[in-house]
Symmetry: D2
Subunit: 354 residues, 4 copies
């Protein structure tokens, strides 16, 4: 298709963990990209991955990736705490960046990176992978074609017997997926409020279960349940509208999105005896499981990113999307911290206490 | 079996709605009970039910049920707002009472009824039906035989395209089920804190979606999601422990309880370079779906109640259990009210705002 | 609606087993029907049912039902072996009949009853309940609106840890459901061939598992798996067409019918090297779960039957439908008998025998 | 573990289709194996695979694989029609062989290969991958520890909207999986009889749906439904015993095996009136979902094969297992051919013909 083009985007990847091979594979499959160099703190890991996936150069020095003249796009797949420093250095070196989620560990850092990229005319993208899936795209289209009526709520559950992590808690680990989906569905709207509760169990030092509630203008309620200690894997998002409702079950192998032609409306009418009587009418129609694009989300994302780099477009999951997600996480973390302090002080939280 | 006993407990039922026929059927099946009289505001409804289920007397006067000398037990199956007045009158008339959930609409009323019943040596029970199911009994036994290790959390979802009600919101309608299950599993422990958020959609006047978080001593987190506007019926409670975890799915026709032999433990050890390193060990064992008693919960409840009346025992779901549930609902309602006021005042909630 | 009509169809029911109360309830709910009399070999059973469901008369004499002058329609809900004698006697007495499945235990008997009913201008219906469900109706409509393309096969599985019966084997017990659905979907077409294999286990005297294959003109293959010894309940029928396919899962509480917009077509083209190469093209489109009528099948059937009696119409599940099902069962039984004889004679069936 | 050993088994692979990369990956991961050479009719395919997976040599000549002196084990992953010639040539060249399923296209060929391997002291294995899965191993262990009581039946369904093939029909394509599982569970027992029915649709030249019934001594009934034209993927095997029953659902991501503590027993006792009355007692106990080994089946198989080559053991899926499966397929094919002839001759098979 684009075989008349040269592979003109050299890609460098910093961090060769679980996601690294997927990144290499998808960039190398794109006709205009070529992974030139990888780095990982564990040098032997970088070298093994480079050997297996035919990457020309590998070592343990992130700087060598950023400074490699063949590299135009730096992919930052390290732990979250290092995203800011590495992305900043790459942007200062005039490179486009793709940063894994969460974008940064503070909104301030995110804002600085966005400004830097804009000043230098560089693409700054965040790997909100889910927004490139066929499932989320179908949800977006259904929500925005008007057939769902008013949006009421988004309820998202992402639980599993997961990989406990020592450096971040469960909201920084899992909630970016849900929050980036919600952010995309809501066209990047700013939230009205954020509430968060969580708990730390099993001798860990980080919350392993948390409930995050985000309200949006127009009385839209978003709720995210993330949990590393659940017996079975659940990844389910319900989008409730007045005319239609969607259930997105990412654990389903093929039938991920179910669109229910169901809704409710309430008409108030005066009636003698009682001042108002509610007339509720339910609509129970068909349910549709749309055929979804089977393309790998990361391949879609790479193609989109290449398009943005070539044509100066703004990525669907740009730094600003990353920032909006980080802002919510930061607000939630603030509340979890207060909760921890109260508990350490031996105080029960009194809010709402019976 | 007990056919040598006379039916010595005359039962009177006030309120012949959806649950009425179930109550009559189950009381009449017990050899020592006999439903003598029913009443309903809609007299023709009371008479039709009486005819169909062979109840000797029926009218539209609750007083006639309470005052009928053949009636020893008054079952109050009217809307929640009238529970207190009717139960009080029955207790004052020296009758045992069984009150549908929620017990009352205020903790103060509940306390008064409990005191009245105790003073008069009468049974005051609340119809927390779920605590009499084979599923919840199995959960209780599993939690209390020590094999689950430490209890971490209980997460309960009860959502459906439900019957919108004009007099109560979704937490008073649905959450009593979840809260009574949690209360039973935790042996009636008092909560440390209650948090609640909700929203009112579709032109209704009552919250149709709400998230309720209740914390208990020992860092136990309970969370309840109730929703009248969900496209599909979900009734699922997860109980997470350090050694085993339970998923109770009440929508499953036969395999309602799944006990997972799974857990996690974290050992902290000093390591050079980092002060603490987390060693997390997961256990992934078999999953068991226990055979459950197939007896109708209401039949178990009736038998238990008869035993309590005859032998002066305290019902599993007594007034105090009802009170504990009402206290949580009241605290939650308090927060929903504050939220409504903020919104009506055009103020955004600031807590945790980004 | 038809409240200006009198209840002019007196109904008598012979056999008060599991299905009896459902029959009484549904006939009595129809404004033009009234159950006047029931009978059961176990007189006390008949009397108890009559008392509970307000039937005026009950005893242990089938003749009293048939001869009751108020009875215009005789419902025969006894074991299959007695259907013929009772239905014959009722038809000779000038009564319409509704016979439970299987219609009779031999095609000869079925033919005689059909002839008798026609001669006397009486309705002779068979209780093929499933053909009155919303699910089967939707399948019929989908198959007959042309959108499925060519019909290829119908595969039906009806298995459970079932009620072993001593008088009939599993094909006479369960397969009438599947065969009546298939017969209805195929507009009563005559089969081309019938094949059946089964086995008798656990010390029983009747086959408890059987596989029944019925071929129809146009290369349509129907297959039925019935089994009393399965660990879990499966009731699933797949209808495969060239353009669309249906999965009907009767165990699903609400989403019983799934219509897949999927198919395959094969184009043959000459190619050098190989004489023919197959070009197969698959179509994978959306899947639709249609909203189904929630009416109880038996209520639909009663209404239909009343219409047939009043207006001289032929029931959807008339004697001829019953006969077609019995013919298949008889042919299948013939093969099971041959198989039994071979086994009793110590002969193994030849490997690969047709 | 075996790192002190050299990689002393050179492996050559003929055929680089879908399964090829899996074979290379798994052999190369074993410390004592090394894939030295691959071949494929499509030379560029062989070269691309070799490049991606670091195989030293590749071309389009199967002979070059067989004759390569570094190759001790030849893996034959070509279409079934060529298995016999290639395996024969490899065995004659003194090489061990692993042949994909089905082993051969005729029992005669299979017998010849077995004899040849035995004469030359070579391992001749067939890739019955499923018998190396944790799921099938658990089923085998459960069936053979005596807790299931008597085995009654095995019912296997393997259907999908599958890949139509022009050279083989659906039984040769899919049924080897089911038949090899059944053969393993039954310890290689010879069947008593084989029956098969099928149909060819959508303009294809090969059966795309078939039902295969195999009976075994002791009244054991095995049934296999294979289908390329089903709307959804089902891969489910039920094993029914008198004391316990297993459902193996290979589509389930994690809970593949369910062991039901359920059964039935029938006691016959004389009773007045009827000569024998059946007393059936059901047992409905718990259901267990055992934790299964998560190792990739092919890795287990490779390890087992290496052990057999080094220690002169007989593989679990040896040529004789392959032969037993081919014998059943051959008998089934014979019946499908008779059926086709009858249809081409315009003859209907007689209704009820055995």
């Amino acid at each position: 298709m684009t075989s008349n083009h040269q592979a003109d985007i050299g890609v460098g990847i910093i961090g060769c963990g679980y996601w690294g091979p997927n990144l290499i594979r998808n960039f190398n499959r794109h006709p205009r990209c070529r992974v030139e160099r990888v780095a990982d703190m564990r040098r032997e890991r970088a070298e093994a991955v480079a050997r297996e996936f035919h990457v020309p150069a590998a070592n343990d020095d992130p700087g060598s990736v950023i400074d490699d003249p063949r590299v135009r796009l730096v992919v930052i797949a390290t732990p979250a705490a290092s995203h800011y420093q590495l992305a900043k250095r790459a942007l200062l070196a005039g490179k486009h960046v793709l940063v894994m989620k969460p974008f940064t560990t503070s909104a301030e850092h995110a804002e600085e990176l966005i400004a830097l990229a804009e000043r230098n005319g560089l693409v700054c993208a965040v790997d909100h992978t889910f927004v490139y899936t066929g499932a989320v795209q179908k949800m977006y289209d259904t929500l925005h074609d008007g057939s769902m009526g008013d949006l009421f709520y988004i309820d998202s559950v992402r639980i599993n017997l997961g990989l406990f992590q020592s450096d971040v808690n469960v909201i920084w680990d899992l909630a970016p997926h849900d929050l980036s989906i919600i952010d995309y569905l809501l066209d990047g709207q700013d939230p009205v409020s954020v509430h968060c509760l969580g708990a730390t169990h099993a001798g860990g030092s980080q919350e392993n279960i948390a409930y995050l509630t985000v309200t949006y203008p127009g009385n839209v309620l978003a709720h995210v349940h993330v949990n590393w200690l659940a017996p079975a894997k659940v990844r389910r998002t319900i989008v409730g509208g007045s005319q239609r409702m969607i259930v997105y079950d990412d654990v389903e192998p093929s039938e991920k999105v179910r669109i229910y032609d169901r809704g409710v409306s309430i008409a108030k009418e005066a009636s003698p005896g009682e001042i108002y009587q509610q007339f509720v009418s339910y609509r129970q129609g068909d349910m549709l499981v749309p055929q979804l694009s089977g393309r790998e989300a990361l391949a879609v994302e790479v193609e989109h990113l290449v398009d943005c780099i070539h044509n100066g477009k703004t990525p669907r999951s740009d730094g600003r999307a990353g920032l909006r997600v980080v802002r919510i996480l930061e607000a939630a973390q603030h509340q979890l911290n207060s909760l921890r302090e109260l508990q350490h002080a031996g105080l029960t939280t009194l809010r709402g206490a019976a």
